[in-house]
Symmetry: C2
Subunit: 414 residues, 2 copies
């Protein structure tokens, strides 16, 4: 079946916001067996909106929209659908009641104009929005479906997962679609696909890979008549996937990489410190993304100058012999940070973030040292990218090295 997306809002066409909703939805559709052929961004203009719905209905089976469901006169998605369907907006008393209750819970009175958010048309039904005032619409006629959701990303994501996707799954497959995610660190997308081999060709469950800022995400999706059957398909498929990429899997849908590393430290009662030169605070910032990081993260040092490295405990002899960017210096930095912070584990970085070379060392060079109770592991990488991206990727790679070492030690001692 063929799908298309309408992203609705004049702020998109003025360049005020980037259309991340279309990207989110585009990632969800393959699992439903929907082919996405068009994404259209369109403003809050009734004739153009109505024309866009007519075009979409003429060429696609499923039209998914976000935006234009607010309470103001600018918000015209409902009006456009009603016009195209030749139907009238009708206030739904129970929906109006829900909306008033939403405002009451927040200690406010519902403004009159919000009553338009309590309307549907006879072909339509509404999709509840527990986290906002804009309910969605589900409109079905002549074998075509329009799903309209709010433009606020977190409201749309929730409505998609809880309302729209299950309904579409029933409609399209007559059954259910169940997804699981595995997150990988320390491996690139093409290597991950290579490791997965023939599994990426599987048709039910399917397996899709996405390159994200925190690693590679794998989405496993099964279709079946009832949820139990889909879960069983995944229970059989997931171990086969894990087997191929076991070394790199760090978690599932709700896991964040800094929190996973934190959990390993917490489980072993290890405290952590970092001494950053090249990554300039980005590694500490990544580590403190995890709620409760203060349980194990004692202190971080951004030792940007040679003097700061010496103050931390790196000897002048090491700096003179090797310079500020070198494996030996990074090792000394890690040892010094561990001692100064009184931590069990230290991660240190030195390198050349650019744009200019430093001490004859090339731009993009990065040394990472992980020091776990005195045992040191070193890594040298060379990036070809911007200063900002160097810091971001370098910090992630340092955290990945720490994770790998903590995991191996845990496995070895288990």
């Amino acid at each position: 079946m063929q799908a298309e997306i309408l992203s609705i809002g004049t702020e998109l066409l003025l360049g005020q916001i980037v259309d991340t909703n279309a990207n989110y939805l585009a990632q969800q559709l393959p699992a439903l067996g929907l082919d996405l052929h068009y994404v259209t961004q369109i403003g809050d203009n009734l004739p153009r909106l109505a024309a866009a719905f007519r075009d979409a209905l003429a060429r696609s089976d499923v039209i998914i929209t976000s935006g234009g469901l607010g309470p103001t006169e600018d918000d015209l998605t409902r009006e456009a659908i009603a016009e195209v369907m030749g139907e009238r907006l009708e206030i739904q008393p129970h929906l109006e009641q829900d909306l008033r209750a939403f405002f009451t819970r927040r200690g406010r009175t519902m403004p009159d104009r919000n009553v338009k958010q309590a309307t549907t048309i006879p072909s339509g039904t509404y999709l509840p929005n527990p986290v906002g005032t804009a309910p969605g619409w589900w409109v079905e006629r002549d074998g075509k479906v329009i799903v309209s959701m709010p433009g606020v990303p977190h409201e749309m994501h929730k409505m998609w997962a809880e309302q729209a996707e299950p309904r579409l799954a029933r409609l399209i497959t007559g059954g259910v679609i169940v997804s699981r995610m595995l997150k990988l660190a320390g491996i690139g997308e093409s290597h991950a696909e290579e490791a997965l081999g023939g599994l990426t060709q599987s048709t039910n469950p399917t397996l899709a890979t996405y390159a994200k800022s925190d690693g590679i995400h794998l989405r496993l999706t099964a279709k079946a008549a009832v949820r139990g059957d889909a879960e069983r398909l995944l229970d059989e498929f997931e171990p086969r996937v894990r087997e191929r990429v076991a070394e790199w899997v760090y978690g599932g849908e709700s896991d964040s990489f800094p929190a996973v590393v934190g959990a390993l430290l917490r489980a072993r009662g290890l405290s952590l410190t970092v001494a950053e030169s090249a990554t300039g605070g980005e590694l500490a910032s990544l580590i403190t993304e995890a709620p409760g990081a203060s349980d194990y993260f004692l202190a971080g040092y951004v030792a940007y100058s040679a003097a700061a490295k010496q103050a931390l405990g790196v000897s002048q002899a090491v700096l003179q012999a090797h310079g500020t960017v070198a494996q030996a210096t990074t090792q000394a930095l890690a040892a010094a940070a561990r001692q100064t912070a009184g931590a069990a584990v230290a991660v240190a970085t030195t390198g050349v973030a650019g744009p200019d070379p430093s001490e004859g060392k090339p731009v993009g060079l990065l040394h990472i040292v992980v020091d776990i109770e005195g045992r040191q592991v070193c890594q040298e990488t060379r990036y070809s990218t911007t200063r900002t991206e160097f810091k971001r990727r370098g910090a992630l790679e340092a955290l990945q090295l720490l994770w790998r070492e903590l995991k191996h030690e845990t496995t070895a001692t288990a």
Copy 2:
């Protein structure tokens, strides 16, 4: 005149990349007097691409595309335009020569398939691409224009600024369009608009505001027959804009906020340190975005635990009397960091990043202290946002406070 954007590439429809090109272009079009009515994302499929070009030509005057200009069989933007125009692709010998030279400069031989990047159609001319292998196309017929550019963002940005925008300006206005940017820090978008008052209604030059992650950007755009006249319009307009927002302007198009703060420190010979609790390394990371930050940024401390704060020099008495999140503690932290690092200036943060309250202090509370040679300025803010966003906004606000104080001091002593 009416414009529309086609973002071309199957990877968009699979959700593998977010369409930031459309957003970039959408921001550029108002300055040209072009109204953007549609953005369409479409895959690398010849019939659908051709249909999209036909629709666009029927309803718009200017069609701007990105993507689909690569050398492989998947890349079909050229073929689609040729089909819609009823013309044949012809190899341009001088263009082929340029392309071969591009490969030679990189020590490689041009693969045969790349010759298709050296073609145009009789209605078209090519736009040079000095930083990649995909030249753009400029196609003009029956008063309509198609501008096709590569999908790689930095190649597209360069081609837009150097080739496409000046040509469109000549075509649309018979003259030139010149833009300048002012960047503001420490003020929100609605306050900026309020301060600018009637100037936002000006028609030539125009004035547009954009909320960005590093502050508010103002774009001033003048149209005139020749560049000199446009520059004169801006020379007259810019001071009127600056006058209204003088307190918040930190630079122009090519200025980054961390580098501007760094330049103030460098000019006064002041060294810098930071002691972060709440912002967890994000402030140091922001400061080290500036190339050459090591000239003034000596060291950063992420004093996450009470012990780390004490090790830095905060007395136990202060911690016991005020707790770890308090103005007095933040003041002590700034003073201790300044002393430990031997720096002239320190910035310190404490707060509750969340998701849980801490020591009875609410989530979102942030204390910032800027200490310039012993003179301390304190600020307390309360955010209602996620942990990640709290750190990002908190770090920016800390840097803004530092900038404001450095600027005031510089003005006062000048």
